[in-house]
Amino acid sequence: MFDNFPLWPAGASTQAFWVDLFYIALVVLSVVTTLAIFVVIAIFGMKYRRRHGREAQPIEGSLILEIAWSVIPMGIFLLIFAGGAVIFFNMRTPPQGASEVYVVAKQWMWKLEHVEGQREINELHVPVGRDIKLIMTSQDVIHSFYVPAFRVKQDVLPGRYTTMWFRATRPGTYHLFCAEYCGTMHSGMIGDVVVMEPAQYQSWMSGGPVTGSLAQNGQTLFQQLGCSTCHRSDVQGRGPNLTGVFGKPVQLEDGLTVTADENYVRESILNPTAKVVSGFKPIMPVFQGQVSEEQLTALVAYVKSLNPAPAGAAGTPELKPAGVAPQNPKE
């Protein structure tokens, strides 16, 4: 078909296959249903067209038919519900050991940071075949991270982290759209997701100027902001020891338990008195307005790095010889 008249979007993720399959099934079901109704109306319209000498027959209805066309659609609907739920469940459950990329959205720009320290704007480079988990937040209004070729989308909210994941299957350059209306240049808040072969990706990773991994930056910040004076890792300080805390349940002062996920770490930095850990006093100063979203992601990444890395997780990248330009298969 013509270049400017595609009828089917490129599919380049593991999810795309299942979403497409499900979509095709629903399209077939819809076409069959619509045609059936149209054909029946057309037949009734012709066969029972008003003619002289033939009268309409009074029919009140039919209980059997009513039950049939309530129960059968309900059954089909339940199947569709289940299919959609299974795919969704998979989309909302990032695999263990996925590589993490932090995303900060703002009017009208995507800022991305790999845990290894590479920063990108309106571009995301990922290798084929690796699970990528995005941890996203917004500096201002609600945005939505949408990659049609991956069939995934997730709103990006101010004041919290939302996550999504995908595994790219085909090298290429794909659209990145903001899908939640965000003001004047909403339609300009677009970019590219560049999917590369692993080897190319490695050379891209080693190409750009990197000032240390995200966690290393977070560590520096942790010391600069004075966090390390109370949150000590050698002896018990005035704040909890953060080693190995991430991802674990935390007992709170009020008796409740929360999981120490990204959102909890974030809240505990910005508004520490909201959920105080059992056995500690609410003495930590509030950092709301003191740290930028980028600094927050670095701190969160640092707290995470205090856990023993699970198998397969991306660690600090081995430094390759510089001078290899990142390959861009865009053209």
């Binding site: 969704f88 997730q154 909210l157």
Partner: protein, 544 residues
């Protein structure tokens, strides 16, 4: 009887009094309906003008016709005008107002003066909205999502929000009036099981208006307060939650979709039996389906928020409930189709609109199944797929029902026949134009084109050009009825009392009806839709 109806001296609601004051201070539900028809038509063409601007901008991938900010205002005001100032009042305030008292054999609505007040409230809201439009407009999208609307937009959000807040009272009072009227004003013998389905569907609509509208009112007040007093309810930096807004907004705005579609379903339930000369198939099921839609419709709101950041399990629950609400809609479609079986079917203009409604509503409903499916919604939500889906329901459904109803009851309302062949032609043009406009948008949506985009990647152009071409045809289809209905007011053939030989009480009084609807108080001894007892309509009346 019919000679009486045509004679000049006959007093009816139109010639009972003369002068502008007699209209502006009337408490006659039929005259108030006419006040509404004029005002909503004005808003419809205003909203339509914005729609045309949107389609013109999207002819090319670049943003070249207008500035980005202008485009954002244009689609916002297209949506807000069409939803709050056209679709929600459309059938209830015009046809419902005109017909419900007559259909149940009453002299007027239960509260005639409240009925007039609700029109004035609507006009006040409309004027305030027009003022907001002319002094800068709004750019939040019709959905007012926070924190964009509360902390970032530099447009007339407060004024537009207040306008919609005020218009809500008009809706609430209309709903209240209908509920009380249906309960208290039915003629002797007009039992609940003899009520026309048009009345049933309006009863269900009124329940939504009464229970849902206060929630959007509160929500908009919160937006206004947050914006002007910095309350922090939706501001995450102060412990607020922007998602709370979406929950509150959709708690009303999803049921509001049923405010738009249920009255149309009522119209179709009147037209299909009449032009099939048969009782409606499964009366009880069609009536109860309206109530089921109204009730379950309140439990599905968060299906607008599957990717907004709600929990996995909340999403599962709302997806399931959304499939539940699809069942009564399916029941209605099957029953209308079955009504034609062994009937005596004629394809007059109202029937063409009703069949168009069934076709387009089927497609709108089926694509709703796509959107309620969690894993698929992730890809197509906030794209043109959603735009296409809800236009199939709200334009293909609600507007076609409205046009069908206007044609069907035009003889009763105006006392004149519209030109039948022009009517059929316009109905076909609307159907073709509509499909050409919105079908390509399903494909665009699955390709991934996000909604509310002022500029777009060039590969989406051809489908956008097709859509714009369709919109042009659709505009012609809308202008034609405007023209020939006006023409018929003066030159149309005078209508008999019951040109369609329909069964409803409204056809047993004169065309147009007298001020208090009936010369003799009716006593009902028959069920709705006893078409087997009615003679066939005179074909000469149909073909002009």
């Amino acid at each position: 009887m019919s000679t009486l109806a045509v004679s000049e001296e006959r007093k009816n609601y139109i010639n009972a009094e003369y002068g502008i004051r007699s209209w502006l201070f009337t408490t006659d539900h039929k005259r108030i309906a006419m006040l509404y028809v004029l005002s909503i038509t004005l808003f419809f063409f205003m909203g339509g003008f914005y729609a045309l601007l949107i389609r013109l901008e999207l002819l090319t991938p670049q943003g070249d016709l207008m500035q980005a900010d202008t485009y954002n205002k244009v689609f916002t005001m297209h949506g807000q005008i069409m939803v709050f100032f056209f679709l929600i009042p459309s059938i209830p305030a015009v046809l419902g107002n005109f017909l419900i008292p007559i259909m149940i054999g009453a002299k007027d609505l239960a509260f005639p003066r409240i009925n007039l007040i609700s029109w004035y409230i609507y006009i006040a809201a409309g004027l305030l909205y027009l003022h907001a439009m002319m002094t800068g407009g709004v750019d939040t999208g019709w959905t007012f999502y926070t924190p964009f609307s509360t902390a970032f937009s530099n447009t007339r959000v407060v004024e537009a929000g207040l306008a919609i807040f005020i218009s809500g009272f008009s809706s609430i009072l209309t709903g209240l009036n209908f509920v009380v009227t249906v309960h208290r004003m039915r003629a002797p013998g007009m039992t609940w099981s003899r009520l026309p389905l048009f009345v049933w569907s309006h009863y269900a609509t009124s329940i939504i208006m009464l229970l849902g509208t206060p929630v959007i009112a509160i929500t908009l007040v919160l937006v206004v307060l947050e914006r002007s007093l910095n309350l922090g309810i939706f501001d995450p930096n102060r412990g607020g939650d922007p998602l709370l807004f979406q929950h509150l907004f959709w708690f009303y705005s999803h049921p509001a979709v049923y405010i738009m579609i249920l009255p149309s379903m009522g119209v179709v339930s009147e037209i299909v039996p009449c032009f099939s000369r048969k009782r409606v198939f499964g009366y009880n099921f069609v009536a109860m389906a309206s109530i089921a839609i109204a009730v379950i419709g309140f439990l599905v709101w968060a299906h607008h928020m599957f990717v907004a950041g709600i929990s996995l399990y909340a999403a599962l629950a709302f997806s399931f409930l959304s499939y539940l609400v699809a069942v009564p809609s399916a029941i209605k479609v099957f029953n209308w189709t079955a009504t034609m079986y062994k009937g005596s079917v004629s394809f007059s203009t109202p029937m063409l609109y009703a069949l168009g409604f069934i076709g387009l509503f089927t497609i709108g409903g089926l694509t709703g199944l796509f959107l309620a499916a969690l894993g698929l919604d992730v890809h197509v939500t906030d794209t043109y797929f959603v735009i296409a889906h809800f236009h199939y329901v709200m334009v293909g459904g609600a507007v076609l029902g409205y046009l069908g109803g206007i044609h069907f009851w035009w003889p009763k309302i105006s006392g004149r026949m519209y030109p039948e062949s022009w009517g059929r032609l316009a109905a076909i043009i609307v159907f073709i134009g509509f499909n050409l406009t919105f079908f390509p948008q399903f494909i665009l949506g699955y390709l991934g084109m996000p909604r509310r985009y002022w500029q777009y990647p060039p590969e989406y152009q051809v489908l956008n050009v097709l859509s714009t071409a369709g919109a042009t045809i659709l505009a012609v289809g809308y202008l034609m009825p405007m023209a020939y209905l006006f023409w018929s007011l003066r030159y149309g053939k005078p209508a008999e009392d019951n040109p369609w030989q329909a069964t409803g009480l409204e056809w047993r009084t004169t065309s147009p009806p007298p001020t208090f609807n009936f010369d003799v108080d009716p006593v009902v001894t028959w069920e709705a839709y006893e078409y087997e007892k009615m003679p066939l309509p005179d074909e000469v009346t149909l073909e002009r």
